[in-house]
């Protein structure tokens, strides 16, 4: 799992049938120093995460399979909305 910041939303009319009705967010993976990964990710969200908020993303497809069926290609799923991340200063370096 990792931290990610929600940057926006993605809309797709043509998709794998198991993904019908899912909410797709565009996010950036965060490092401990607050920097973001170069490539954005598209994640499935059932929590209603807001733009600019930080979430925990799991890359385990089990949750998606349980909800969307065995044939779903969904993998990255929001598993929690972050209240606060406490990091010791300098620990990230």
């Amino acid at each position: 799992m990792f931290l990610a910041r929600i940057e926006g939303t993605a809309v797709a009319a043509i998709k794998h049938p198991t993904l019908e009705g899912c909410r797709f967010l565009v996010a950036q993976r965060l490092e401990a120093d607050g920097s973001a990964a170069a490539e954005p990710i598209v994640i499935v969200d059932w929590f209603g995460a807001a733009r600019g908020s930080t979430v925990v993303v799991s890359t385990d497809g089990d949750i998606a399979r349980a909800r969307l069926g065995n044939t779903t290609p969904a993998r990255m799923v929001v598993v929690g909305l972050v209240d606060q991340v406490q990091l010791r200063k300098g620990a990230a370096a």
Binding site: E7, G8, T9, A10, V11, A12, A13, I14, K15, H16, L19, F24, V26, Q28, A36, A37, A38, E39, P40, I41, V42, I43, T59, G61, A64, R65, N70, T71, T72, P73, A74, R75, M76
Partner: protein, 95 residues
Amino acid sequence: MRLGIVRGHVTLNMAVDAFRGKTLVVLEPVTMENLRAGNGRGGGKSLVAIDALGAAEGQVVAFTEGREAANPFWPDAVPADAYCSLIIDSIDVTP
């Protein structure tokens, strides 16, 4: 999933049986910088993915990587590690 621009299609001469009838596309992953700029550029390291949605060259797809890329073929065993899950119509990342 990551985002990738379809740059082309791959035709195989010989292949594992599980790939018979499947379409392979070459994807160029998109960086956040290029996504925000909307310049049609990718910037990531290219890869090959299975596409069952009919994505055309130039279109942006969201692709699943890893074990889950083979889920759509369950219970068949297909040695795929990238699969086009969405053809993106629009992305809104305005701050």
